[in-house]
């Protein structure tokens, strides 16, 4: 049995969608950021980093979206969510997820979580000011050199797709018009037509 610790609309949505895609048997446990539950002692025992997603499995706790997505693909290989036995192709999928995690998500985080990297409120404001530009720069690279369409890797739906969708959902709040990235916008529309995406969004109350 699996329990996914999540907060609605965060990057935990990517793993949630992947679990739906493979038909996993799981339950949800909501972490309320408004009550700082991610830093509560009982949650820090599960994940000392104080972040979501965290997935409790029979073998132990797993964290970090790129690791969780690859785990889903490996655990349900019949779902075909990653080219598990082609190291080059698998590395390309993982490179997309690593970029989304370490560059695009990080750019987004400067909008509301600037306190991670500076204490001065004026610095947080400077970060918020640059947010639309830095997110646009990331998505321009995705649009121009990564997203093959209709899915990230052409006709093959992979674990990169729910992750891109999850982060593309944040563009509006980051002050970026998705219409400026037509391939991303088409991907976003196509994702919403997948039953797994609809189920995950509904499960998170989104």
């Amino acid at each position: 049995m699996l329990t996914l610790f999540f907060s609605p609309g965060t990057c935990a949505l990517a793993t949630h969608i992947a679990l739906e895609e493979v038909g996993a048997d799981y339950t949800l446990s909501r972490i309320d950021f408004g009550k700082d539950q991610q830093n509560a002692p009982e949650f820090l025992k599960l994940n000392p980093k104080g972040r979501v997603p965290a997935l409790v499995t029979d073998a132990g706790v797993l964290t970090e979206t790129p690791a969780l997505l690859a785990w889903v693909a490996q655990t349900w290989p019949e779902a075909g969510l990653a080219p598990l036995h082609d190291p080059f192709a698998f590395a390309r999928v993982q490179a997309v997820n690593s970029y989304l995690c370490s560059t695009v998500h990080v750019a987004h985080a400067h909008g509301r979580r600037g306190y991670r990297w500076a204490d001065d409120p004026a610095a947080h404001e400077a970060m918020r000011e640059k947010l639309p530009a830095s997110m646009s720069a990331c998505f321009q690279i995705i649009e121009d050199s990564m997203l093959e369409g209709p899915w990230m890797f052409g006709d093959t739906y992979t674990i990169a797709d729910p992750y891109l969708f999850t982060i593309a959902r944040w563009l509006d709040m980051d002050g970026v018009d998705m219409a400026g990235f037509p391939k991303v916008a088409a991907h976003f529309e196509a994702m919403q037509e997948r039953p797994a995406v609809a189920a995950a969004l509904k499960g998170q109350g989104l």
Copy 2:
């Protein structure tokens, strides 16, 4: 044949060490950040993100350290650098690498690359001021809840080890005394005794 595009001492060192560990046949191509070569048109053709590492393989270009490290482990499975056929154990290794990439490396980058997330020089200064605290917080988590010792995953050396070593090398420049993290310091010493690490450091002129 492989060509690793690197800049000395950057996160490309992790992949460089891994290539040495498996005895890969590769050549090095240095990108001079001082001359902004990472943004030169010929390099952007290889990697539109304008970053190192980039690894040119016979099949194409690969980027992003966590993806490259897993690729090395998969391509030379006999080296045993990752538990490739145990999805849970593999996910734990990947979770460490994802944390190093998206949280620890990102914390470090606020020391010199604050321009990525804010335009105001005062904000860059505020980021530099917080750098020792944010890096220390990351390494406290590594020390307390991740690093089993002597290697990240106990007696088994994995692709997480060269990555931790690469980032631990930055602590001094980030104003953090590694001695405050005894397990990290012992790991750092043990790494330097590995021939692959010595070869990679020498290859980068470090």
